[in-house]
């Protein structure tokens, strides 16, 4: 799960990680008041769940409270397009008004899980403000990597070595060590999946602060962080995906025109792959889960059909514990409820497959049945093609 910058900073402050003073605003009036409180000269930052806001015009400096209000007026309601939002962009609903500081250095610090090592790793780079992937691609040696045992926590020598790698000295060096220790604690205790401070700001006064903050959480640990769960902003998510998650369906919208309904995440990915191999483009990833009941199949059907790009649907089910006859009944039931606005290809395999096929055949519905995944993919791509005007 993702949260906004202002929410992430709220969490950082709980752990004593220094951030610039800031106030969230949803109206120009609120922004004006906030700017006055923060001393006039402020930065207005659009709050959306995507990076690259600065380049897209979502981060602007205001010299006084009036300008802050004017910038907020222009920003609220605008569609902000960055390289991370895609061409459709995101609507700005809130801005963060933050005190403007005297920048000396902009650095980078990020924490994420290193799957190979099985522990978190702190990445640090002197090249703040740039995307870490870009730095890694150009000059991998510019990134200092420090694996940290999540249970033992960050050791002083590790914090020192990162501070040295960042080229810090004097007051900033000491403050950075304290910053890193608190940041690591926040990462572990909040069950974060990613905690990125980019840029990490060193002021002319030698203070070290999180100028920007991106924090993603381990969805599986949200049960012990109700406060974080409450920060979820569904405006930032695809409406169809939000709808699907309400039904307990794992759905991701893509750009193609072949809808897919599959049981199991791996098989669902494999089905997308085989559609592509057959010359088509998948419209979505959808895992109906192990216990695909008639109700779940119906829900999945409705979700897939809400995507107007879908010209044909492939249902690919390997019946294991869930028997094919039950799934076939579910498909028939779903089609009776939702209708057949586009061609539907069904491929069943596994437990009670013959019974399942019989149920589909006897239903009298115009379903296209397929044997094996190759056949299914060819049929659904052909159907989607013929349905394209």
């Amino acid at each position: 799960m993702k949260v906004h910058e202002y929410q992430a900073k709220e969490i950082l402050r709980r752990y004593g990680v220094p951030t610039p003073r800031g106030i969230v605003a949803e109206t120009p009036d609120a922004a004006r008041e906030a700017a006055k409180e923060l001393g006039g000269r402020v930065v207005v930052k659009a709050q959306i769940h995507a990076g690259g806001r600065g380049k897209g015009g979502g981060v602007k400096l205001a010299k006084d409270a009036e300008e802050a209000a004017a910038l907020t007026k222009a920003m609220i309601g605008m569609t902000l397009v960055t390289h991370q939002t895609g061409p459709e962009g995101r609507e700005v609903r809130k801005v963060l008004i933050e005190e403007a500081l005297n920048i000396d250095k902009e650095l980078y610090v990020g924490i994420t899980l290193d799957r190979r090592l099985g522990m978190p790793v702190i990445m640090a780079s002197k090249q703040g403000g740039m995307e870490i992937e870009e730095v890694a691609g150009r000059d991998p040696k510019a990134i200092h990597r420090e694996p940290v045992d999540a249970i033992l926590g960050i050791q002083p020598f590790q914090a020192r070595s990162i501070a040295y790698a960042l080229g810090l000295e004097g007051t900033a060096y000491k403050k950075a060590i304290d910053f890193l220790q608190k940041l690591m604690t926040a990462y572990v205790e909040m069950d974060a999946a990613l905690l990125e401070i980019n840029p990490l700001l060193v002021t002319k006064e030698g203070d070290v602060l999180a100028l920007d903050c991106k924090m993603n959480f381990d969805d599986n640990a949200l049960f012990r962080h109700k406060d974080v769960e409450a920060m979820r902003d569904v405006n930032e998510e695809d409406p169809l995906e939000v709808e699907a998650s309400r039904f307990g369906l794992n759905y991701i919208k893509l750009d193609g025109n072949v809808g897919c309904m599959v049981n199991g995440a791996g098989l669902a990915m494999g089905t997308m792959d085989i559609i592509k191999l057959a010359g088509g483009e998948p419209a979505n990833f959808l895992d109906v889960g192990g216990g695909a009941s008639a109700q779940q199949v119906t829900n999945a059907f409705k979700i897939i059909l809400s995507d107007k790009n879908v010209k044909a649907i492939l249902i690919n089910i390997f019946g294991g514990i869930m028997r094919c006859d039950r799934i076939a009944e579910g498909v028939v039931e779903a089609v009776k409820q939702v209708g057949l606005p586009v061609p539907v290809v069904v491929r069943l395999e596994g437990t009670n497959v013959e019974l399942g096929k019989e149920i589909l055949a006897k239903s009298g519905l115009a379903l296209i049945t397929a044997d094996g995944m190759t056949d299914a993919a060819a049929k659904v791509v052909a159907a989607a093609g013929s349905a394209t005007p």
């Binding site: 899980l113 190979r116 249970i151 098989l267 997308m272 792959d273 390997f318 395999e349 995944m373």
Partner: protein
Amino acid sequence: MAIWADKNTRVIVQGITGREGSFHAIQCREYGTKVVGGVTPGKGGTTHEGFAVFDTVAQAVQKEAANCALIFVPPPFAADAIMEACDAGIGLIICITEGIPVNDMMKAHDFMSKTNRVRLTEYAEGMARLTAEGKSPDARTTQTAAGADPIQRAGGSRLIGPNCPGIMTPGQAKIGIMPGHIHREGPIGIVSRSGTLTYEAVGQLTKRGIGQSTAVGIGGDPLPGTKFIDCLAAFEADPETEAIVMIGEIGGTAEEEGAAYVRQFVSKPVVAFIAGQTAPEGRRMGHAGAIVSGGKGTAAEKMKALQEAGIHVIKSPADIGSKIEEVWKK
């Protein structure tokens, strides 16, 4: 001989009185697996669906000589269940539970590696003592599938999963949630990060009359207990396995590590498929571990690494059976 699980494996089900645990314990028993009981704290001394229920794993080990634990405990308590099984000396721990927090798994792995280290030390001391007494150290090695695993032989624990379908040795033991009847005995070892894709592979092989030695679902989580390399090593050492199917997916570098291992240590033919060739960057494709981030963990990268290691990489998941038929026994 198969790997890790066979007819001598004695299984206890942790969370046996829950809906999932109960259902699958019965399914495993019906297949012929030796399910010797279950564990639900607070319900020890009772019976459930004909299974003896214990309060702790240690009691089940003491009374029933259980050597394998199958875990269906809900996510908030699953890591604790893994550690309890390890502490009780269970050699093979299979965790089906999906949705365990990464931090919990880090604790479980940490606990397991420390416990295993103690067991290895004790094992080494025991060996030294036997040698000093003039007895053959080999006396301690058992002739079971588990006997081939260095960790288990030393009395340590191996974890499979979490978020996996389990392990299946056709004709001997079904320890997990896979449909038993699609399998048949034979020479092909399967290791996979995906459940239903494993069934797909098994289905394709069985349809062609080709059986499986053991099928291991290592699970879709970012921090699995058993990785590709562990399975590849075990299959290479297993005299009954003649070829290997490896099913990976986007995210992480376990496939690349597997490829490097195959290049150096595996002589048997390996067929591989990587799911998620069309997956967009930055999106988790169902499994917690299936994500391309920062341009890393793509299917293309993995396929390239596998190909360079001499593995037969197929682009379509429909070609697993035919490719095995082509390369096996050549």
